[in-house]
């Protein structure tokens, strides 16, 4: 019988079936960062356990680090303490840390693929929900909590239930000004923020097949926002060319051997899925969220929906969203005034994202009332962008050019919204309080749309600027 990538990767990593019915699953790659690991290392120390497979464990600093002044000690003593714990733990357990001095530091989901650590056919775990990102290379990658981080450190295994599989097919051709971010926001809007609970998503269809690896990373990144703990794209020629020559990918003859294995894990023709969803790619326009979860979105030409248009059980959340955002049902999203523009995050902090934003930034200057930040996803992204002169374009247009980190996606450093500020953001979550202010407001959109909002000061259809 034809098998899916999920079947093959799951089976290849099954150590045994536990009495609970869950699988004891071997984890091929464990990525760690400073926020969700100190307690896990502490538990290891108390239990006098070592890291089981240090050669499969890699760390970085991303969530808490400042993106303006990175002089140590950090101005925020709590951030400094977390960084010190990370350094100490990585040293004590003999694990590699991609810190500022390495030149490879960055958001964990940007550096994994960038360094060639994330490879097809792998199982990948990290104490961060956006681990689904790595599925773009054809891996089964999912977020875990701190106690599970402890278990992976100690055993390189997790107890997991195999998810069901939904193929999400994006048909047709995307219009100009429509990006991978719009595709995943449209998918979440259509299938719902809980539609993926219990499922892994296999993204397929002509739109996905034509996407670059960076675009696929953006799509898989937000699987969790649709409720799916992991999402993947079958490895193909795009995947293999992306990985060729990356520092942690196999080299020369080993690369050719690896390629054979990578190709072999792709879903076979005729494989059965628990569900198939079809999305018309041609119908997608630039998407903007108007509410308090990533499923609450509209096309930029559309109006904010009324609670009555939603199923009855969803109406209280709709009303809460309108109240929090200060929007009226029936109001067009276009023209909504913003205070802050943020391009960055594990969703949209890669070189192609910065290029798309820069293309728009060239067309104007940041509006007087807007604070605009460009935060590269990694040191390597920053370096590549600077080599192309993107930083100059941004600075000339009045954007701030920052250092790599998670930054205003979740506001664990100084980059926060103030009060009820409205943010146009290329990040992944518009939850209440997400960007650092309990009353702050977030509109999710593509990096090009963020840049367009930055220069006009209001939500704008980027296609009008790119004309």
């Amino acid at each position: 019988m034809a098998r899916t990538l999920l079947d093959k990767v799951w089976e290849a990593h099954t150590v045994r079936v536990l009495p609970s019915g869950q699988t004891q699953l071997l984890i091929g790659l464990h990525l760690i960062h400073e926020v969700t690991t100190p307690q896990a290392f502490q538990m290891l120390k108390e239990l006098k356990l070592k890291v089981r497979m240090p050669e499969r464990t890699f760390g970085t600093l991303d969530h808490i680090i400042p993106t303006a002044d990175q002089t140590r000690p950090y101005a925020d003593p709590e951030a400094e303490e977390m960084a010190q714990h990370m350094y100490r733990n990585m040293k004590e357990f003999g694990l590699p840390l991609f810190d500022m001095a390495s030149g490879k530091q960055g958001i964990v989901h940007v550096i994994g693929p960038e360094l060639g650590l994330s490879q097809p056919g792998m199982t990948i775990a990290c104490g961060d929900s956006h681990t689904s990102t790595h599925g773009a290379v054809g891996a089964i990658a999912f977020g875990i909590g701190t106690t599970q981080v402890r278990d992976v450190l100690a055993t390189q295994c997790l107890a997991m239930a195999k998810p069901k599989l939904r193929q999400v097919r994006v048909e047709g051709v995307l219009a100009r000004g429509v990006y991978a971010k719009d595709v995943i926001l449209a998918i979440i809007n259509q299938l719902g923020v809980k539609g993926g609970v219990g499922y892994a998503y296999e993204y397929a269809g002509p739109v996905i097949e034509r996407m670059t690896m960076e675009e696929r990373l953006t799509v898989c990144n937000m699987s969790i926002e649709g409720g799916a703990r992991c999402g993947y794209v079958n490895p193909d020629a795009t995947t293999i060319e992306y990985l060729r020559g990356r520092p942690y990918a196999p080299q020369s003859a080993a690369f050719d051997r690896a390629t054979a294995w990578w190709k072999s894990v792709a879903t076979e023709p005729g494989a059965k899925f628990d569900d198939v969803a079809r999305i018309d790619g041609a119908a997608i326009e630039p998407v903007v969220t108007w509410g308090i979860n990533p499923g609450m979105s509209v096309g930029v030409s559309q109006k904010i929906p009324a609670p009555e248009s939603a199923p009855e059980t969803e109406r209280p959340t709709f009303r809460e969203a309108l109240a929090h955002m200060g929007f009226q049902a029936g109001q067009p999203i276009k023209g909504a005034r913003i205070d802050v523009a943020f391009v960055g995050s594990c969703t949209n902090g890669r070189l192609s994202d910065l290029r798309a934003a820069a293309e728009v930034a060239k067309k104007g200057k940041v509006a007087k009332h807007v604070r605009a930040l460009i935060v590269p996803g990694s040191q390597q992204v920053a370096k590549a962008a600077e080599a192309e002169g993107l930083n100059e374009i941004f600075l000339a247009a009045g954007f701030q050019w920052r250092k790599a980190g998670c930054s205003m996606c979740l506001g664990m450093n100084d980059d926060k919204l103030q009060g009820r500020e409205m943010s146009a953001s290329s990040s992944n979550r518009n939850f209440i309080g997400r960007q650092g202010s309990p009353t702050g407001r977030t509109l999710l959109m593509s990096p090009a749309m963020v840049a367009a909002a930055a220069i006009t000061g209001v939500v704008t259809d980027v296609r009008e600027i790119l004309k």
């Binding site: 009495p19 999912f142 809980k194």
Partner: protein, 208 residues
């Protein structure tokens, strides 16, 4: 010792209803409280901003202090993987959660901490939330093995059938067993766990 000795079979205590769907883990514990190297003191920050913004929030109400069975709507705990969320709830006093559905990572974290999360129908959840609101002092019993939840207040002692009651393993149980199972493999070459694929020689020069 059998692994099943780690099962948590029953939780009994007063209930606390938190209405609404899609309550994310940022809402349960805002990110600024993640800047800590231990989980200590996390309980006092459970729903911190929601409590400040809404004096009527159940976690603010005196009558619900000391409750241990949390009753929630759909997709509770969606979003961030932060274990700080179930840690905060647990340290506040929550020992079991009944809901329509749960964010999967949150659910997995609760399993690791021994907090049963059981699913019930929308109708049953609304009933249970109403019953608890009407008589907050009356205990609610969650029976994980029978997969049911009983509120003593209901005249008919209506039972809410819950689903998805899997075994509640303590993390320690899994880890110890995993270690002993994996020990012999350490002598094999890297990548040898692919033996389950059968027949083919495993690649040894790259990660999988």
């Amino acid at each position: 010792m059998s692994a099943t000795d780690f099962k948590r079979r029953q939780v009994s205590g007063r209930g606390i209803p938190v209405a609404g769907n899609d309550i994310d883990t940022d809402r349960i514990i805002p990110a600024r409280f993640l800047k800590a190297v231990t989980f200590e003191g996390m309980g006092e920050h459970a729903f911190e901003d929601a409590k400040k913004q809404n004096p009527e929030h159940p976690f603010n109400q005196k009558v619900y202090q000391g409750a241990s069975v949390l009753v929630v709507g759909q997709n509770f705990g969606c979003g961030s993987s932060r274990e700080h969320a179930p840690q905060a709830l647990m340290r506040w006093g929550i020992r079991a959660i009944i809901g329509g559905s749960f964010g999967e990572i949150f659910f997995g974290n609760c399993v690791m901490l021994g907090i049963p999360c059981l699913r019930a129908s929308q109708e049953d959840i609304e009933w249970l939330q109403r019953e608890i609101g009407r008589a907050p002092q009356t205990p609610v019993t969650v029976d994980v093995e029978k997969q049911e939840c009983v509120s003593a207040t209901a005249s008919s002692r209506r039972r809410s059938r819950t689903a998805r009651g899997i075994s509640w393993w303590g993390g320690r149980g899994i880890r110890r067993r995993s270690c002993s199972r994996l020990a012999p493999r350490s002598k094999r070459r890297r990548g040898s766990c692919r033996t389950s694929r059968g027949g083919e020689s495993p690649p040894i020069d790259f990660l999988f």
